[in-house]
C-alpha cells in the first residue's frame, strides 16, 4: 500500500519587527542612477582623500565596462537607474547611544541591538542607510589596542592601513557589483586586532536600510594580526517597500599568521532587496577562518564568501543555512582556493525551500599545484517542503595536484515518512515529529551561532510547526 504522504504547514519567517518603516528623514541624498557626477558628489560629500576620489572614478569606469553575471538568478527587476546610491541620515556619527536621534534609536531598539551590546558584545556599530550612526567599543577592548571604528573615521585616522588593504582582496575588476561598490561605497566597519590579542567577546555591526529605492554599499575591512583572534557578527535588515533596494556591500578580511577569525552573518533583508554582496578572506600560515552564515531575507541573493588559503596549514570552515520562501531566489554558497601546502577546508551547507522559494547552493573549490597535502570536504543538504519550490546544487571542484584529498556529498529530498513513522512510534504526534526533524536539520548551524543569534535564527525558522496535516 502506498504510504499516505501528509504535509506539514510551515509558516513564513515572522518579519513584523523588521518591516516597521520609519519616516525617511534624510539630510542628503543623491539623485537616482549612477554617473561620474553622482560618484563625485558622494566623494565630495564624504570628504574623501584624493586617492579615494580617483579610486571611485576608476571603479565606475570598470563598472561601465563589465556585464552582469550570465549565471544565477535573474536581475531583471533591478534597474540601477532607479537606485539612490547615497542617503545620509539626519545625524552625525554618535559615540553615545543617548545622542542618536529618537527615530533611528527606536529602530535599533526594536531590533534589540543596544540590549545585545550591554549583555554580550564588546563593541557595536550601527549603520542607517548610507552612514554609520553609532559606533562604540568597550574600554577594556580599546585598551588592548583593538581598533573598531566606522570606515570613514578609519580612512581619516588610519589612512595608510586602509589604503594598503582597501579593495585589494576584492578588486573592482572582480565583477560588476564589486566595481559598483568601489564607486559608491559608504559606511561599514574597520577592525584591527593587534598581534596576540584575543578579543573574547564578539564585535557586531548592524546594517539597516530604511530609505525606499536606496542602495547600501558598506565596506567592512578587518585585519586580525599574527596570533590574534576575533569573532565579528554582522546583521542586516530592511523594511519592505514596493520598489527594489540594492545591497552591494564588500567584506575584506585579512587573517594573519596563526590568527583566527570567525565571521557570522544573519541576513534578513526584506523581500524587495537585491543582495549582491562580496565577501573574501585572505588566510595566512596556520591561521583559521570560520564563516557562519544564515540567509533568510532578500528577493534575490548572490552570496559566496570566499577564502584564499595562502599560507601553509591555513584552515577554513563554512557553516551556512539558507531559507527561501515565497518570491525569494537565494543563490548562496562558498568559494575556496587552496594555494598552499596542507591547507584544509570544511564546508557544510543546509537549505530549506518552501512556498515557491528557490535555494541554490553554488560552490567552487580550487586546489592549485602548491596545495600539496590539502584536504577538502563539502557536505550539502537540501530540504524541499513542497513542489512549488526549487532547490539546486551547483558545485565545481578544480584540482591540479595529485596529493590532495577531496570529498563532496550532497543530498536532496523531503522529510522521510519512515523517520516520521519511527518518531510517532515513540509517542510523538506527527506534527511534533515533523517539527523535531526540521529543527534537527537546522541544529548544526544554530549551535555555531552565539546564543542570542541562535535564538533569533530559531525564531526565524522555528517555522511555527503547527502540525496542521493535509
Amino acid at each position: 500500500m502506498e504510504a499516505v504522504k501528509n504535509k506539514t504547514q510551515i509558516n513564513d519567517v515572522d518579519r513584523s519587527i523588521y518591516d516597521i518603516k520609519d519616516k525617511v528623514n534624510a539630510a542628503f541624498k543623491t539623485s537616482k542612477g549612477l554617473t561620474f557626477g553622482i560618484v563625485n558628489q558622494i566623494s565630495l560629500e564624504k570628504n574623501d582623500p584624493a586617492w579615494m576620489r580617483e579610486f571611485r572614478q576608476k571603479a565606475l569606469k570598470i563598472y561601465n565596462q563589465l556585464d552582469i553575471p550570465v549565471w544565477g538568478p535573474s536581475l531583471e527587476g533591478l534597474n540601477i537607474e532607479d537606485i539612490v546610491a547615497y542617503v545620509r541620515p539626519n545625524t552625525k556619527l554618535q559615540l553615545k547611544w543617548e545622542e542618536v536621534p529618537e527615530d533611528i534609536k527606536n529602530t535599533f531598539e526594536r531590533l534589540g541591538i543596544p540590549q545585545a551590546e550591554r549583555t554580550s558584545l564588546a563593541g557595536v556599530g550601527a549603520q542607517y542607510d548610507s552612514e554609520v550612526v553609532y559606533h562604540n567599543v568597550k574600554e577594556e577592548v580599546k585598551r588592548l589596542g583593538v581598533i573598531y571604528t566606522d570606515m570613514e573615521s578609519a580612512l581619516r585616522e588610519h589612512e595608510e592601513l586602509v589604503k594598503e588593504h582597501f579593495m585589494k582582496l576584492v578588486t573592482p575588476g572582480d565583477h560588476k557589483f564589486a566595481a559598483l561598490h568601489g564607486a559608491v561605497w559608504s559606511g561599514g566597519s574597520f577592525v584591527y586586532v593587534p598581534p596576540g590579542v584575543s578579543v573574547e567577546i564578539p564585535l557586531q555591526s548592524y546594517f539597516r536600510l530604511n530609505a525606499p529605492g536606496a542602495g547600501q554599499f558598506e565596506h567592512t575591512l578587518i585585519i586580525v594580526d599574527k596570533g590574534a583572534s576575533l569573532h565579528f557578527i554582522e546583521g542586516c535588515s530592511a523594511p519592505k517597500y514596493n520598489v527594489s533596494n540594492l545591497h552591494a556591500g564588500c567584506v575584506e578580511l585579512f587573517v594573519r599568521e596563526g590568527a583566527r577569525l570567525r565571521y557570522s552573518t544573519i541576513e534578513n533583508w526584506s523581500k524587495n532587496m537585491y543582495n549582491l554582496n562580496t565577501k573574501r578572506a585572505s588566510v595566512a600560515k596556520n591561521a583559521t577562518m570560520e564563516w557562519v552564515s544564515g540567509s533568510f531575507g532578500s528577493k534575490v541573493s548572490y552570496l559566496y564568501p570566499m577564502s584564499i588559503l595562502k599560507g601553509e596549514n591555513a584552515r577554513m570552515e563554512y557553516t551556512g543555512i539558507t531559507f527561501a520562501g515565497k518570491g525569494q531566489n537565494l543563490d548562496t554558497g562558498v568559494k575556496v582556493v587552496h594555494a598552499a601546502p596542507n591547507t584544509t577546508s570544511h564546508m557544510s551547507s543546509k537549505s530549506i525551500s518552501k512556498d515557491g522559494g528557490c535555494c541554490t547552493f553554488r560552490s567552487a573549490v580550487v586546489m592549485g599545484k602548491e596545495a600539496e597535502g590539502a584536504k577538502c570536504a563539502v557536505s550539502c543538504e537540501s530540504l524541499m517542503l513542497d513542489s512549488k519550490s526549487r532547490s539546486d546544487t551547483i558545485p565545481v571542484m578544480d584540482i591540479r595536484n595529485d596529493n590532495v584529498d577531496i570529498g563532496h556529498e550532497a543530498k536532496i529530498g523531503r522529510i522521510s515518512d519512515d523517520t516520521i513513522f519511527y518518531l510517532m512510534s515513540r509517542g510523538l504526534s506527527e506534527g511534533e515529529a515533523r517539527a523535531m526533524i526540521v529543527s534537527g536539520f537546522a541544529e548544526p548551524i544554530a549551535k555555531e551561532l552565539p546564543l542570542e543569534y541562535a535564538l533569533e535564527m530559531n525564531q526565524l525558522i522555528r517555522l511555527e510547526m503547527e502540525g496542521s496535516i493535509g
Binding site: S382, S389, R390, V396, M397, N401, I406, A410, I412
Partner: protein, 365 residues
Amino acid sequence: MLLELKEVNKLPVKTFRWLGANKLNINEVIPDIKPFKRVELTGEGVKDIKVTYHNNKESENMPPTGMGDEAAAFICCHKNREMTVTVPRGKKIIEPLFLSYRLDQENPALAEELFLLAEEDSEVTLVITYEGEAGTPLFHGGLIYLMADKNATIHLIQVQLLPDGGIHFSNIGAECKECSKVNITQCELGSSHTVSGIMADLRGNKSELTVDTIYFGDKERSLDFNYVINHYGKNSKSDMKVNGALLNSSRKIFRGTIDFKKGASGSEGAEGEYTLLFDKNIKNVSVPLILCGEEDVSGKHAANSGKIDENKLFYMMSRGLSEGEAKKLMLEAWFHPAVNNIPSEALREQVFQYVKERLNHVESL
C-alpha cells in the same frame, strides 16, 4: 578539415565563468570525412532485428543529446555511416549484438549516426567498439539515439580504444518510456581528445537509467564529459557511476546533472564520481549538479578525488609486489566493475590488455 564547435557539453545551468566549466569549445583539425567502409552488425541476435542503413528521422523528433545540438548537427551534416536498428515488440535478444569500427589510413574519419529503437517489451544489448591504426590522425564522431518503449530494455556498451592522436566524440540522446530501462556503459580508454555527452529523458513512470563509465587519462590526453539525466516520470530512477584515473599531464572535466522535473514524484537519482590521481600535473574538474523542482524525490551525489589508498598499497607491497605493480593491479581493479558489463570474454580481455599496455608506458608507475 576543421572541426569547430563553439558550444558543446553545456551545463544545463551556468555557474561562475572564471572556472571555465560551463561549456567546451572544440577547435581541431580532423581528417576529411569521406565514405567509410561498410560495417555490419554481428551476433546471434541479428536475425531477430530490423536494420536499415538510411535514417530518415526528423531531428526535431529526436531526444536532446548530451553534447548538444551543434554536435548533433555536425554529424547529421557529415555522416558517413548511418544505421537504424529496431528491436521488434516482445523480442528479447539474449545474445549481444556487436558493431566494431576500425579506423585506419584508408578510413580515417567516421561520422556515425545510430538510431536504436527497442519496441514494447523487447530487450537488446549492443556493444560498439572503436579501434584504430596507430600513427595515423583519426577521427570518430558519433550521434546515437536510444529509444526504449514501454517495458523495453536497452544495454549499450561502448568501448573506445583508439590510439594516441585520435579525436573522439560520442553524443547520446536517450528517451525512456514507462517501465523501460536503459543501461549505458562507456569505456573511454583511448584517443587524445575524448568528448562524451549523454542526455537521457526519463519520460515514463518507473523508467530507469544507469550509466557506468570508466576513463583513463595519461600523457596530454583530455577528456570532457557531460551527462544529464532528466527525471520527468514518477518513480523514475537513475544511477551514474564514473570511475577514472588521471596520470601525467592529462586533464578531465566531468559534468553530471540529475534534474528532477516537477511532477517526477517518488523518483530517485544517484551520482558517484571517483578519480584516482597519480601525478602533479593532472587537472581534474568535477561538476556534479542536482536540480530539483519536485519535493518528493531523493537525490544524492558524491565525488571523491585523491591518491591511491596508501594502506592498501602498503598491504600489497608487503605481499611482494613492487609499488608500480601494486598500482597497476589496483588500477585494473578500479576498472573491473564497468568492464564486467562487457558481455564478451574476449573483449574484456582485450580491454585489460589495452590498459596494461598503456600502463607499461607510464614512467611514474
